[in-house]
């Protein structure tokens, strides 16, 4: 047993104040976190094991719930409104193992390399692919942030808060959280905010006629209302895009690195990711059921933007459920704005070799914080532009995420198969088969989308409702 471990296992105090004080501030916070974890790991009591579990989980749950972002909530709401309770219920359940499998790889990569995704691509595959991946991420993150502020401002408007006020307040809140909380507290506060994502599940009890039979039948029939059309392909891609997206890979890997997880912690990271994937899918299905049983089939004069969906939803279930839905929408936008801006900060800093950690104090992390804060402010401003096609923009963002996902997945799989990087933690054969099958499925879906754009008459219906 190594000498430091012996001290820890014998519950002896570690007087390392001097050593800690010599460390840079960001590393000092992480070292203190790791010391707590080391003590809990060596205690071997039931309580310490439970405490250790709760200390080590976080990035997986956070990334998955942040993925049920305002854009995601709007997409699921539009999905239920357009296609009802059918194909997309079993489809979302299929997405659970897909999301878990993809994100689990980032846990291993981060814990083994102690480097973020952007840094690994940049350094291992060169500047061209590094800049491509970073550019793709930054643009997609910016567009996604716009959808978060669409959700926040629409949700807050239900409570009578003017859009401009809610946009400003939430930009400031996100900036304060990033700037003044250190990683462990930042993660705990973010998880607390993320917990409100579950508000969509109890909302099901407010439905006047719970669609239990439709829900069960959906697994037997996989019914697609209106058949396979351009719109169906588009919405399918949007649902894929909101379940697995490039920013999630970057976010979780950087988060694992900033938290300081090691090879020893991988199994905790895997459980964390599994819990997160399960919660994500449960919430997604709840939202599809909510609008699928209230808004689906309703004459909406050809528009199914979130404003219109909420109006119809309120008419069917009443004001209180509408307010809960709006609260969920605001929370979804808020938590995702936190996660996505962190993802931009991490990725840019990793690529350009800047200091990179949520543990960085403001004075040392100007380059780390400022780009994502600018993106936040601009994205919030865009949502205030009158008559911007926000409903369509939302689905387009998800579609773009799906289009770039095969590229992001390819780099992930290359890295996970790189013995020079992963050592004996490389992907196993079955993991590669699943990984490349997911890439193949994404490319097939994108090809179908391409076909529906280039030859729209191939399908029965055109994209016109959005």
């Amino acid at each position: 047993m190594s000498s430091w471990k012996k001290h820890v296992s014998e519950h002896k105090s570690i007087n390392i104040a001097n050593e800690l004080n010599e460390l840079p501030e960001d590393l000092r916070y992480r070292t203190e976190d790791r010391l707590h974890i080391a003590f809990h790991r060596e205690k071997h009591t039931h309580i310490s094991k439970i405490e250790l579990f709760f200390m080590l989980i976080g990035p997986g749950i956070l990334v998955m719930i942040a993925d049920n972002d305002a854009g995601g909530v709007i997409t699921y709401a539009q999905t239920g409104s357009i296609f009802g309770i059918g194909f997309f219920i079993p489809f979302m359940i299929l997405m659970l193992p897909v999301a878990y499998f993809v994100q689990e790889m980032t846990v291993r990569l981060g814990a083994v390399t102690h480097r973020g995704h952007a840094e690994m691509i940049w350094k291992r595959y060169g500047k061209f692919w590094g800049s491509f991946s970073l550019g793709d991420l930054v643009i997609a993150n910016f567009l996604t942030l716009i959808t978060e502020f669409i959700g926040i401002t629409v949700g807050m408007s239900i409570f009578g808060v003017p859009r401009i006020l809610s946009a400003i307040v939430f930009v400031i809140l996100v900036i304060l959280i990033q700037l003044f909380l250190r990683y462990y507290t930042w993660e705990r506060i973010s998880l607390f905010i993320a917990a409100f994502n579950l508000v969509f599940v109890p909302l099901l009890f407010f439905l006047p006629h719970p669609p239990v039979a439709d829900f069960i039948n959906s697994f037997a029939t996989w019914k697609i209302a209106g058949g396979v059309s351009s719109l169906f392909i588009y919405v399918l891609l949007a649902n894929l895009g909101t379940t697995i997206a490039p920013w999630m890979l970057f976010f979780q890997q950087s988060s694992v690195v900033d938290k300081g997880l090691t090879k020893e912690d991988i199994k905790f990271g895997q459980r964390d990711t599994l819990i997160g994937s399960t919660v994500m899918v449960i919430v997604a299905i709840a939202i599809i059921i909510l609008t699928g049983s209230t808004v689906f089939g309703y004459d909406s004069n050809g528009t199914l933007g979130i404003d219109n969906i909420l109006k119809i939803f309120a008419a069917k279930v009443g004001t209180f459920p509408l307010e809960l839905f709006a609260l969920g929408l605001v929370e979804a936008g808020f938590i995702a704005a936190i996660a996505i801006s962190a993802s931009t900060s991490w990725a840019m800093s990793e690529a350009f070799g800047w200091k990179k950690s949520i543990n960085l104090p403001a004075r040392e992390g100007v380059l780390f914080y400022v780009p994502s804060f600018l993106a936040l402010a601009i994205a919030a401003s865009v949502t205030l532009i009158p008559n911007a096609p926000l409903g369509y923009l939302n689905l387009t963002v998800q579609v773009i995420a799906t289009i770039f996902m095969p590229a992001a997945m390819l780099f992930l799989l290359l890295l996970l198969n790189d013995r020079g990087v992963m050592g004996d933690m490389v992907n196993k054969r079955w993991q590669n088969i699943i990984g490349f099958s997911i890439i193949g499925f994404l490319i097939l879906m994108n090809a179908l989308y391409g076909l529906s754009v280039a030859l729209p008459t191939v399908f029965n219906h055109l994209v016109g409702m959005l």
């Binding site: 430091w4 070799g353 095969p406 590229a407 754009v453």
Partner: protein, 68 residues
Amino acid sequence: MSVEKKEKTIENGSEFREFMVSQGLEDYSKIPVEKVKFSPRIKIAFWFLRVYIVIMVLLVIIGFSHVI
């Protein structure tokens, strides 16, 4: 400092460094990462990726222009 107190502390810098290394708490920006040499298979995959991206970006622009 008493003998007992000495036993209960980690004052040795090497022990602390050992802890830091075991917990991945090094400054990784100072450890270089070697650029990978592209095998023919990876080169083909990357060319496929370039073509795929160009086609998909064009299709998204066409799709979006239909709506605008």
